[in-house]
């Protein structure tokens, strides 16, 4: 199969694996928020691991990588500010705010695009690394979609509508994965920049959203355990790539 098709296939699988999460209906009871926190912590640890794996690949270079990473951070900060997403409380997205659900969809789409860049650049480095990245992000997509469904279903959307929104918000993932792959394939000298961008953006998502949200939802001991074990597993599995 042609490489761009493989990129498209795996990035689409990653995007579509979010669907089961769309059927989950989170309850806002205090006891149930812990599960949400652990799901966030799992996603945070996994994304930290993905960033670690990307920093270790052979194409990574110090100067271009750091500038790319700073751009990735700036991208997340800017888009969050413009869309006012930084004021959105991920733990209680439904509280008295009718704009919460559409903003959560936008936030979800933004994450999906960033993760698409990570899949695409990993594919450009090494196809098996890209598949690994797609699987890691597929796992991470499930709790993210569950979070989205919690908000949209309380706004009155049915399961079909919610799953539709989940798919819609994830379209950016395969699109950007393929686009990123083409950019790096056409201009290999862009690789360290794109790698840096993906690392900076992933890290900033973890630090400004996933982790702070998870600490609000569950105790710091369980959050730290889940996140560090998830990180350790991704580092261990990622170690098989040169």
């Amino acid at each position: 199969m042609a490489t761009p098709l493989i990129v498209l296939l795996y990035a689409s699988i990653a995007a579509l694996s979010a669907i089961p999460g769309g059927f989950v209906r989170w309850s806002a009871e205090p006891g149930r928020e812990r599960w949400l926190g652990w799901a966030h912590a799992l996603a945070a640890g996994g994304m930290l691991g993905a960033a670690f794996v990307l920093t270790g690949v052979s194409g990574a270079a110090a100067g271009a990588g750091a500038i790319g990473a700073a751009l990735g951070v700036a991208f997340i900060v800017t888009t969050h500010t413009v869309t006012r997403l930084d004021t959105l409380d991920l733990s209680r997205p439904d509280r008295d705010d009718p704009s919460a659900a559409p903003r959560l969809v936008a936030l979800h789409a933004l994450h999906a695009c960033t993760e698409g860049v990570a899949i695409g650049v990993a594919m450009a480095v090494d196809l098996s690394l890209g598949v690994f990245m797609a699987i890691a992000i597929a796992v991470h997509n499930v709790p993210e979609a569950a979070l989205l469904s919690g908000a949209t279903r309380r706004q009155g959307a049915g399961p079909a509508g919610t799953v539709g929104l989940v798919v819609l918000s994830n379209i950016g993932q395969p699109a950007l994965a393929v686009a990123t792959w083409f950019v790096v394939a056409a201009a290999p000298s862009a690789l360290p920049w794109v790698l840096g961008f993906a690392v900076g953006a992933l890290l900033n998502l973890v630090m400004t959203e996933l982790l702070p949200a998870s600490y609000r939802e569950a105790g710091s001991t369980s959050i730290a355990l889940v996140a560090s074990v998830a990180l350790a597993l991704v580092v261990l599995l990622g170690g098989v790539f040169p």
Binding site: F52, G65, L203, M207, T208, A224, A232, L236
Partner: protein, 245 residues
Amino acid sequence: MDVILVFTYGLITALATGLGALPFLLVRTVSGRMVGRLNAVAAGLMLGASFGLLAEGTRFGGWQTFSGGILGVLFILVTNRYLREHHAHPGSSTGKEDGLRRMVLIVTVMTVHSLAEGVAIGASFGGGMALATFITVAIAVHNIPEGVAISAVLRANGVSVPRCAGWSVVSSLPQPVMAVPAFLFVEAFAPALPYGIGFAAGAMVFMVLLEILPEAYGKGSAREIGTITTLSMIAMMLFQKMVAG
């Protein structure tokens, strides 16, 4: 000679803790917001340093680094439980006589934390000078906000600034003391190196996730704290790549 070098590096990080008392020469208290930012810088540097350790450890063996990392996590978990069971939480006590207990508590907590950091310094020497240098720098910089935290408690109870600096350094003395045996161990017993490096990385990541980050998020907006953490982490990784050439 090597032992003296390892001890000196450990001592530098310990002395850096004393720098945390310096702001109190100028001001009576440091704002909570500033402490949060300092903690965010420390968290980013330590995470960046842990990534460097993990990269080095997995070169010697993935499973060994993984096992060492889990041991590091358990070490911090157990020591933290022990400290919590044997002392009340520092924030929960009130009244004058509790001032002394709070001071003893924070110095004790920080001293126990320093054990794992000492192991990190010692084990990193097994991976070469470049690794040892950036781990030492990361831990030294991380120690400064720890010194601020200790000094803030002591100063509030009327302890003089030089004594604040002294107690801050004391709390980090396990670093040079633990660095030497950790270094000798990985030197004499080479297969232990990835375990030692994994232990150090696991302990640092877990300490950041368990205490430093939640505390920092409590003192500022998630965006501010998170972005400072990310940028510090990137700076640390850049520094490592430059030192490693």
